[in-house]
Amino acid sequence: MACMNEDGQWIVLMGLLVALGLFFLALIINQSALVGQTTAEGVLEFPKNDIRDLREAVFDYVEKGRLEAVQKDIIAISLERKNAVVSFSAGEQQGVSGRLLRPVIIHYNNGVTEYDETVYY
């Protein structure tokens, strides 16, 4: 080490900057696991298929004569097997865009997701 001078201080300073950069990258990576977890839980808990299935069942109920027993079946089984409070009803036929349709009110709530719909069928 014959001729030492102070030029190396830049290297040290840049080294510190790189270290800080790495630290922030590590923070971001650390967050990604948590983000993935909550996203997946959100997607899995959302009852997309349950709601679609319920809508089809309600339309089927309207089509096949709106029997009270069938309505009770769907409400009771939904509560027991899907932990969902369900209620639905179909009104009298009325003219909508030149066709006679019934207003069907569908309500679904499983404690996490609430879904309400009024559809003319």
Binding site: L25, A33, V35, D60
Partner: protein, 164 residues
């Protein structure tokens, strides 16, 4: 003449090399983080596949005909139900078929009680520790049905689906 004035440059070069290698490693590894979210994607795909299969089975071939699903449930035909279901979800475009297995229950209301009956029993691949998904479908049965008969009723067909 040989002296040691180049040593500091050598050390700087080594440090710079390590930093560059580290940067490349971090950049490559960030593009492929396997987060907890990714582990649930196969489950979501399986659930969608099962729902689609039940929707296909619940679609009649023509207007005023009954769907396969309704006929199978109403006649208690669990053999055909199982083979149709597995045929739909194991079929691939080419090559060997997929390895999905299933069991099924039917839930119905009897007065104030909710009762459940096994429709298709699980096969030998079932150990109880599979990562199974549940897919369901409402079926409205005519008044002559094996679930208490006497009246038109809505029953819930629940299928457990797993890969083995």
């Amino acid at each position: 003449m040989v002296n040691d004035s180049g040593q500091l440059y050598t050390m700087e070069g080594v440090a710079a090399g390590i930093i560059m290698l580290l940067t490349v490693y971090i950049v490559i590894s960030t593009t492929s983080i396997y987060t907890a979210g990714d582990t649930h994607i196969p489950d979501m795909q399986l659930e969608q596949l099962g729902s689609d299969v039940l929707a296909m089975m619940d679609t009649p071939n023509a207007k005023d005909l009954k769907s396969d699903l309704e006929v199978f449930v109403n006649t208690g035909n669990s053999t055909d139900f199982e083979s149709t279901f597995l045929n739909y979800c194991n079929t691939r475009t080419s090559g060997a078929t997929d390895e999905l297995h299933m069991s099924a229950n039917v839930t119905y209301r009897d007065g104030n009680d909710i009762k459940e009956r096994q429709f298709v029993a699980p096969d030998d691949s079932w150990t109880g520790r599979e990562s199974a998904v549940r897919v369901t479908r409402w079926v409205q049965l005519p008044s002559a049905n094996p679930y208490g008969g006497v009246r038109v009723r809505a029953v819930l067909v629940e299928v457990l689906l797993w890969r083995a």
